[in-house]
Amino acid sequence: MQRAALDLWVGVFVVAGLAALLFLALKVGNMTGFEQGETYTVKASFENIGGLKPRAPVKMAGVVVGRVSDVSFDNQSYEAVVSLTLDEKYAFPTDTSAAIMTSGLLGEQYVALEAGGEAKMLANGDSLKLTQGAVVLENLIGQFLYNQADSDKAADSSPMPE
């Protein structure tokens, strides 16, 4: 093997190996890069975001229109502030509402948008007024049991219609 050819092949090998590491770091791991296309960002406050994570999809009518870019906590209102990065291709009315939903049984959580009727469209930096947080299973069960007990009591006190 010629010295030059040897150098070349080893160089190709090392470059390929480093490129694979870079791919793992940037595309597979969470050292973010790559965000294609023009976007704009709006904020939405939720009283509970459940398991919503950054980079979760934002959907309208089931179509992905953006991603969650950041999740933070507002110490003034004690609410979670979620930044939604939306695709510039899509415009939404200012009274669009946002809700946190779950896809599948154990699936990921995402933000679902529902369009309102305003003529004005959302711009970069706006915030959504109408929001609905994630459903917490424990609260739901608690509420259900409470209602059940209430209706039982009501049934006991009223005389049986016979």
Binding site: W9, F13, G17, K27, N30, G107, E108
Partner: protein, 264 residues
């Protein structure tokens, strides 16, 4: 009768003492290799040649196996995840199992059988044809000239090969999951990125493959250097290299995993 029983116990003891003393020799050999590594860096073309024969020539098998392992993971993972309605988690499954375990371990096993066995056979044959003895006659240190460059060539190649294996496997999982089955590409990547951490998963995988690289090359070089200078001796040493280094990789992997991933 009693004699035979005594003999078998004696043999067992002899085997244990023998393997422990071989372990000691291997440790001394490893130390000597590290001590005599100066030349592998001052005359780097020696090491370059070994990176070529250990790393570049293993590329094909590593890339092809990585692709197929990833594709199988994609198919099997989809079958199971589908029953829970969470096919989007396929990206996490493929990436985490490759980056944490399968990438380093399978790449090291392939490396042991592809490059490790070749190293043993080469050095064993050098010894059988008295090239090593000739070097010593000419006051050339065979550890510095023959062993250390091969050691560093293997240690440098191993993490790169493991990274290529993982990357290729994730690409295979993507091919099956997104292109063939039709999972949403966005959630495939985004769930993967949300779940795989650079420090906890990728860096630990690189550390694992470095440790495996050291273990495999030391075992291969020691078996070659220690082989009886006969055809049968060399063939036995080559077999022993593959068996011992495979067991060493799996054992070390368990220990490293227990250290790295408890509670992650």
């Amino acid at each position: 009768m009693i004699n035979r029983a005594l003999n078998s116990i004696r043999n067992m003891g002899g085997r244990v003492v023998n393997s422990v003393s071989r372990l000691g020799m291997a440790a001394r050999f490893f130390g000597l290799t590290l001590l005599h590594s100066g030349q592998s860096f001052s005359r780097f073309n020696l090491t370059l040649r070994e990176i070529y024969s250990a790393g570049v020539l293993s590329l094909t098998i590593i890339l092809v196996s990585g692709l197929f392992v990833g594709m199988v993971l994609g198919l099997q993972g989809y079958e199971t995840l589908q029953t829970y309605g969470s096919e989007e988690a396929l990206g996490i499954l493929v990436a985490l199992s490759l980056v944490r375990e399968l990438g380093p371990v399978l790449a090291a096993l392939l490396f042991a059988s592809r490059a490790g066995s070749a190293m043993t056979a080469e050095i064993g044959l050098m010894k059988a044809t008295e090239q090593i003895a000739a070097m010593q006659m000419m006051a050339v240190d065979p550890i510095a000239r023959v062993v250390a460059p091969r050691f560093w060539g293997g240690v440098i190649s191993m993490p790169l090969l493991a990274a290529l294996f993982s990357a290729m496997g994730i690409f295979g999982g993507y091919l099956v999951g997104v292109v063939l089955i039709g999972i949403d590409a966005g959630s495939f990547w985004s769930q993967m990125q949300a779940a795989v951490s650079f420090q906890d998963d990728i860096l630990n995988g690189v550390i694992k493959s470095l440790v495996f690289g050291v273990a495999v090359t030391v075992i291969a070089l020691f078996e070659g250097f220690d082989a009886p200078p006969t055809a049968e001796g060399v063939s036995r040493a080559t077999t022993r290299t593959v068996v011992t280094s495979s067991l060493a990789i799996l054992g070390l992997d368990f220990i490293l995993t227990a250290f790295m991933f408890h509670g992650v």
